[in-house]
Chain length 247, copies 2
DNA sequence: GAAATTTGTAAAAATAATGTTAAAAGGCGC
DNA sequence: GCGCCTTTTAACATTATTTTTACAAATTTC
């Protein structure tokens, strides 16, 4: 499971979670049989209910009939072009997430995708994991438009959308990386997060600093947000495992 | 983090040992000796048990024999091509994460990786850290899916994800190693586990403490979790064999 | 039932992880 | 390029955990 999916998990962590049937139905529109097959396998092994179509016309029919939770759409399609399919679907169901597959040349202008109404796209040699992550992210996004945007605890209030943090009414300034770290921890509250996971999720693959970097950011967060930084209450360390944010 | 891993393990293999699916065993398939050596070092210093193969044929044999937790696979291989190896392995073990190494030109086709069933890829030249990060992410993925997350017995409740244990409502604090030991025992409840198996599975490959270390951890678990530690009910001793957790 | 082996137990010794500081490296606007 | 801010690394102190050790108790073997 892509690590991007973790916030979702933690949000639900409160109770036993009933997997909604509709929530994991996916429509894949792809004309190349080989790719179609591969995509089907990819998503099915991840527990999605997959429906596949090979052309734009059938895709539209299928979409109306089965009401999928998300659509994976190849832009290059016979008959009705992928672009038109995308537009049309978005006209009917604006909230339905669509992730577009495209050759790099197709998206020379990202503007186009926005016009189409696509929620995200994956280009050329993409890793299956990446596609999965994007679809999941798209699903998550629509599933919870108001994804924990406001949090407050212990005299601290946070507006993640505005990127505003106040402590006893006074603004607290976090740097970019501190903020991202904070947000990830909050969105995964109560769960123990390893340094590696934080590096993956917050820092990403390209720049992968040493694990000690994480410690330093935690230190900063404690200094800026804990009442008594030397005995942290919210940013807890779990020795040998990682860190854990507790409200 | 020693890298004495290999010799120690082979020594230990003397005794009768069940085919373990150690979570940190990695198969690296790479024909360039220099790269192979570098990769081996990279992963070994990170505590993985590394097995290397130079061609597709041996890779398949090795995969069948040793059941690694993940595979790092160069697409360019002599004899059987990396592509075929990938496909074949995915056909047998769809859940086994495969991270592909490839020249940029190899993945120019957006289809390729998908069809192969690879989970992720890194293009040459790649940064060691990025490769590590991707492999770890892939491993975490498989580790997280489908495992018991909540358990309770006898007034004790466990949330493995939060790493939280409560006894009659009060939190019990376990150290990292204690927790891992506990988790492994619980997930293998009712089965007798030898000390050697515990060392392999919980302690991993590169640290090999004496078997008495296991006894001490069991002791701690009993002290923290048994009603009457001197006559344990859940953490049972199977004389001459090992231990066994009973709910 | 005595010797040999295995396990229970607690405390000491050895390691390893984390906290913290300060300096180096990297980015960015000017 | 220069100065400013952020991020990362490096180093050292501190704390926590893991491992070893030694001996007592229990179990098995003969």
């Amino acid at each position: 499971m892509g690590n991007l999916a973790t916030p979702l998990n933690s949000l639900r962590a409160a109770g036993p979670e009933p997997p909604s049937k509709a929530a994991n139905r996916i429509l894949i529109v792809e004309d190349d049989p080989a790719v179609q097959k591969a995509l089907r396998r990819l998503f099915e092994t991840e527990g999605y209910a997959v429906e596949t179509q090979s052309d734009g016309k059938s895709a539209l029919d299928s979409f109306r009939a089965s009401a999928p939770a998300a659509i994976v759409l190849d832009l290059r399609l016979p008959k009705v072009s992928g672009r038109d399919v995308c537009k049309e679907i978005k006209a009917i169901a604006p909230a339905l997430p669509i992730v577009v597959l495209s050759a790099a040349s197709d998206v020379s202008d990202k503007v186009l995708l926005l016009e189409l109404g696509a929620d995200d796209y994956v280009t050329k040699p993409f890793s299956p994991r990446e596609l999965l992550a994007r679809v999941r992210a798209a699903l998550r996004h629509t599933a919870r438009t108001a994804e924990v945007q406001l949090v407050s605890f212990d005299g601290i209030s946070v507006d993640f959308r505005k990127m505003e943090i106040k402590r006893d009414g006074k603004p607290v300034v976090l740097t970019a990386q501190e903020f991202k770290t904070f947000q990830f921890l909050v969105q995964n509250a109560d769960r123990v997060i390893s340094r590696d996971e934080l590096l993956n999720e917050v820092w990403g693959y390209q720049n992968y600093p040493s694990t000690r970097t994480v410690d330093n950011h935690i230190l900063k967060l404690r200094q800026k947000l804990e009442k008594d930084p030397s005995s942290p209450v919210h940013f807890r360390t779990v020795h040998g495992m990682g860190y854990k944010f507790v409200r």
